[in-house]
């Protein structure tokens, strides 16, 4: 089985060499003409306002949804092996999965009703 992953490792090395090489090369291939205005943050052509990055904090309004996302992601982790072995499990597997999805769905419906899926 280890052999199966070998080509992926090779491709990883190749892609990484290419990406790192490009990022490094960018410093040599282009001209260098320093100008203070160039290295300013882009803000439509005027002096940039000091930004929250690093100094203050920026509100991410959808973090509740992000938490819900984890729930669903884990649901998928359970669904995949079930799907692969589905024909072996037969009717029993179906009932189990209906119960499982149903349970997640109840939580999902609850969050929806309570407005947890509303973002700013």
């Amino acid at each position: 089985m280890g052999h199966v992953y070998m080509p992926i490792l090779v491709l990883f090395v190749l892609a990484a060499a290419f990406a790192v090489g490009s990022v490094t090369a960018a410093g040599f291939t282009g001209p260098k003409r320093y100008n203070r205005a160039k290295v300013d943050a882009y803000e439509c052509g005027i002096e940039a306002t000091p930004q929250p990055v690093g100094t203050a904090h920026f509100p991410v309004k959808y973090y509740l949804t992000a938490m819900l996302f984890i729930v669903f992601d884990i649901e998928i982790i359970f669904l995949y092996p079930w799907a692969v072995t589905f024909s072996k499990l037969g009717f029993f597997g179906l009932v189990e999965m209906v119960l499982f999805i149903g349970t997640v769905f109840v939580a999902y419906a609850y969050v929806w009703r309570r407005g947890g899926l509303q973002w700013d």
Binding site: E43, T49, V60, A66
Partner: protein, 387 residues
Amino acid sequence: MEKTAVGSLSQLTVGVGAGDMATADMVLNIGPQHPATHGVLRIALTLDGERIVRAQPIIGYMHRGAEKLFEARDYRQILVLANRHDWLSAFSNELGVAMAVERMLGLEVPARAIWARTLLAELNRVLNHLMFLGAYPLEMGAITPIFYAFTEREVLQAVMEEISGGRVHYMFNRIGGLKEDLPAGWLDRVDDAIAAVRRRLPDFDRLIRGNEIFQARTRGVGVLAAETVLAYGASGPVARASGVDFDLRRDEPYLAYAELDVPVVTRSDGDCYARFEVLLDQVAASLGLAGTCAQRLRDLPPGPINVRLPKIVKAPEGETYTWTENPLGINGYYLVSRGERTPWRLKLRTASFSNIQVLGELLPGCLVPDMVAILGSMFFVVGDIDK
């Protein structure tokens, strides 16, 4: 696999329980160099997430002192300056000045000139509206309509170029009429151009007006109440989309509009979608008016198209105010003369300047993407704001 994606977010998120950390409202400058402001308008936004808390339009990056320059030019030269502030409605801009001076002088403009001016003003309106019909969807990510709009603009511009020699700044008005008579066969080419634009309009209908995403982005967004329109003096398509049924061409007719049946396109919703619809329907209406004018011009007996004037034009002492229904709204010139070769004062009232003032009311509470839709639907030209 993606579980950690949320983990990386927590750097940005103010987590629950992080008691001493406060989220900062972010100040974002839209413009002066921003694709959505097509020009050098600047809007200072205060953002909470992507929600706009405060919006302040900052204007003047393109101020060229047009009014002061008017005072140092004689009346014929003013036309050149006057057609520049709103570069998309050059003909209508010239018209206002010419009409003001004619009124002061008590000039009788020949009938052919009046009808030709009406025709050209309507063609100019279509040119202007086509520009916004293309640019507005572009700001919302639909990259194709602007090319359709420009193809048709090209057809109309060919007609305008043939008669005036200019593609943007026509300079075809003169005090007392027009520069030259219409070229032979020109009216037929106008009819062809009108027909060509007409054929294209259904594309805009299907591609943009009927598009679900476009509707989702514009319906109920940036709703402008009729009271706000009146309070801020907004005019033109922006005002008519909010149900303010006001159009100088019908309500205080100038040129030949009194003899025409001017259809005034209005909507009552006042949202971005209504503004788009007004613009689109107004193109069809203007094409109709232009067609009628072309027909009338054919029927008119031959005659002069301008008035012979002395070398030096001096408006008599006094004052007058002319306003016209420009493509973007009411465009007014307040002319004060002390009997000299130059006006003592020529105050310019532009449509975009008044229309853009409502942004401070419209933007707070919207999302950043809504801002783009609203800006696109306010139909302004920065030169028209800054003068």
